[in-house]
Point group: C2
Chain length 168, copies 2
DNA sequence: TGAATATACTAGGACATCCAATGGTTGGGC
DNA sequence: GCCCAACCATTGGATGTCCTAGTATATTCA
């Protein structure tokens, strides 16, 4: 999106907060803004790696999830819950994956309300290849200090549990 | 989006990675996925707080940025650089803010190519009120352990500098 | 000075996400 | 056995982001 800035814009924002009398919330504001920006950078890298495969991150996530199930199939509402996105996003993703021949829709054998998503052979192959690409190009050199990775997992895990993502 | 899951889906994904022989990248994968999910949760909170003001996060960011400048005005390309989003996203946001009477567009006095975004009185007022709401409802109780906030700022700051966001 | 290049904004298209509303399907309570 | 609340997937509309041009203005340099 352009050349590097001479100063960290988030540190700048933090200073603005402190100067306006909001010093008590300046640090959390900076942390939250940093998460927003970090997500943006990581998403761009992932999308760039997936582009040659004709996949977006949303569609990749669904494909990968299916590839990890025993039968390569999953009810749509289950996918929605596990990926933690709205049912409409699943509908959208399945529409496109189906049109690309990577998954099929089939009726649930006993519950007439639910639809099963099934991985095709082409879908399973693409899941493998795109995962290998992500591992090689993104996850193997994420840009974090190795020691920081565990910190992040712990801090964000606590946050997500706190936010009601999961229990335990 | 539903009820809490019984197990952490990201820890689950990490196990899948390890079982498939990708143990060397399983931890970074988990960290990156956790950042994605955390951003999603935080964004939802922010949007929910801004909704009563008729603002989205993208429009709020622009409004807040303008409110911190001396004159309450900024060239569009400057806004694009500081917020680190595509120029077209700025065009889109200014279109809507202008329609809402919160900003005005005016020609740059010396450079005929650039357009200045100017905060209106209504825009300045709304920036103040919506910032107060965010401080009260989101930033004052972010859901992180207080000690973790500084960790996050440091880890993500290093990552962003590494990614070329800024220098120094 | 005049052509080539660089910069700034906008227009249109693709994709993802959320929300609200709709139409089937199930299953528990009476 | 029947009815209605709960559940499931889809559709349509609004918003945001990025990409690919396209138009206009500035700047550079031969």
């Amino acid at each position: 999106m352009g050349t590097p800035l001479s100063r960290d814009p988030i540190a700048e924002a933090r200073r603005n907060w402190e100067e306006h009398g909001w010093a008590d919330v300046a640090a959390p504001m900076a942390a939250i803004t940093a998460i927003m920006r970090t997500q943006q950078i990581l998403l761009a890298r992932i999308e760039s790696t997936l582009k040659p495969f004709g996949l977006t991150f949303a569609r990749y996530e669904l494909l990968a999830l299916l590839s990890f199930t025993r039968k390569g199939s999953l009810p749509m509402n289950k996918a929605s819950a596990l990926l933690q996105v709205h049912p409409t996003s699943i509908t959208n993703a399945v529409d496109r994956l189906e049109r690309a021949g990577l998954v099929d829709r089939s009726p649930h054998p006993t519950d007439g309300r639910t639809t099963l998503i099934e991985l095709t052979t082409a879908g399973r192959t693409l899941a493998k290849r795109s995962t290998a690409a992500l591992n090689a190009e993104v996850f193997s050199a994420p840009g974090f200090d190795p020691g920081d990775v565990d910190h992040l997992i712990r801090i964000l895990g606590a946050f997500r549990r706190n936010a009601g993502d999961f229990e335990e």
